[in-house]
Amino acid sequence: MGLDYQLVLWNKYKKAYDKIIIISMLLYIILFAAITLIFNSETTIETLVIRAFGSLAIIMLNIILIIGPLARLNSNFLPILYNRRHLGVSMFIAAFIHGGFSIFQFHALGDVNPIYSIFTSNMDYNSLTNFPFQVLGFIALLILFAMASTSHDFFLGNLSAKVWKRLHMMVYFAYALIIAHMFLGAFQQETSPLTIGIMTIGFFTVASLHLITAFKEQKIDSMKMEEQEGWLKVCTISEIEEDRAKIFTVKNQRVAVFKYNGKLSAIHNVCKHQGGPLGEGKIIDGCITCPWHGYQYLPSNGQSPPPFTEKVATYQLKLEGDMIYINPEAFDEGTEVEPCNY
């Protein structure tokens, strides 16, 4: 969380994580080149680069796509989620090298505009197996470019979280295009059951994790709470850990009820930064801290501590014995609500 926009808000974890990304990418490229040169020594350098970076990009994309659901299913993966953005930009760089070399080798050496050539060199658009697969890869690359170039918080702040999130959800469309690009392109020429099998398993792993998470979340959304004179029964005090929260669905909105220093407060569960689940974070230095990127809010009014300006809605709680009740009507974002003392 930063007041001013900086290119990267470095910390020791980000530096360590970026080193792991760079070393892993280099190792993969070296290993790929070595294996290729051993088993197919006549491969040209252009072909080697295209294949190495293309396969690297798809492996990285699969990893990126499983981080989200894994972090939802197991909080041990949250540190990787925190650093996912740099992995995404690195993946785009790999995809860009693959795409750039491919366009140069296959389309830039003729007398036709290379971009025009991508769309017109093969016009078999009504065939499946002979479909101009490079078009699919090119569109996917454009989407990845849009995402990588707007990944900085400057764009998140200026495009609005809603527009930014929708733009970045295009990655799923790009993923489908890339799978089709591989199956209708590389796999038509290199008919290895091994590579096709790995890609198929990769897709089903990613899709299954997303769907398992989606159905788990749906279960939480459909939980019914007992109503008593306009108040909804939440849980007992002892069911919430100190400096932590329990999440409930109130009028289709997730609400996090926090317990801290003998007090209880409830705020809207969705972080203003990237929609992170505030109720899965904890209270650090008196502030609710989002588990995704560390954005902070005061529990009593849902406001980020000055000079930050983010605000979320707050809710009124009451206690009857050990039982916590919540008023389902949300207050305006940033409204001060007296915490419940117990």
Binding site: S121, A180, F187, Q189, A214
Partner: protein, 137 residues
């Protein structure tokens, strides 16, 4: 995430898990995973075949071989092809691109079975949509 975004994610992944495997299945269902490989690995051995014709140009040498049951062509690539996507097709009776025989890349001898009415072979760059070379029997 808001409830709307959660629903959107679920819908997108339900859509993908239905549509993507369909594309995967139809794109690989006609691939010959093993026969092409076996054909590619075959060396130029006569066995009970007899050579009925040979031809050669600057890119390749080819020999047509026949036995009682089948007809095949052995193609020797003289130097590695510069095109990264070289595929061999039969030429049909109209001497046009016909049945797909298999892919070729490095310099070695490839072997493919032919239909009886094949009139030649075409080596084609699928990515660029251009003809690399052609042999007419």
């Amino acid at each position: 995430m808001t409830s709307g975004l959660r629903k959107a994610h679920k819908f997108i992944w339900l859509l993908l898990i239905i549509t993507v495997p369909i594309i995967m299945f139809f794109s690989v269902k006609d691939l010959e995973f093993f026969t092409d490989k076996q054909a590619k690995e075959m060396s130029f051995e006569l066995g009970d075949y007899r050579i009925v014709a040979t031809d050669e140009n600057e890119v390749l040498k080819a020999a047509i071989l026949k036995n009682e049951d089948s007809i095949k062509i052995d193609i020797e690539i003289k130097t590695p092809l510069k095109a990264s996507s070289a595929e061999v097709y039969e030429l049909n009776q109209n001497k046009e691109k016909g049945r797909f025989l298999g892919p070729m890349s490095k310099a070695k001898t490839y072997s493919f079975y032919l239909n009886n009415d094949a009139t030649g072979i075409l080596v084609f760059d699928t990515l660029k949509g251009t003809e690399i070379t052609k042999l007419i029997f």
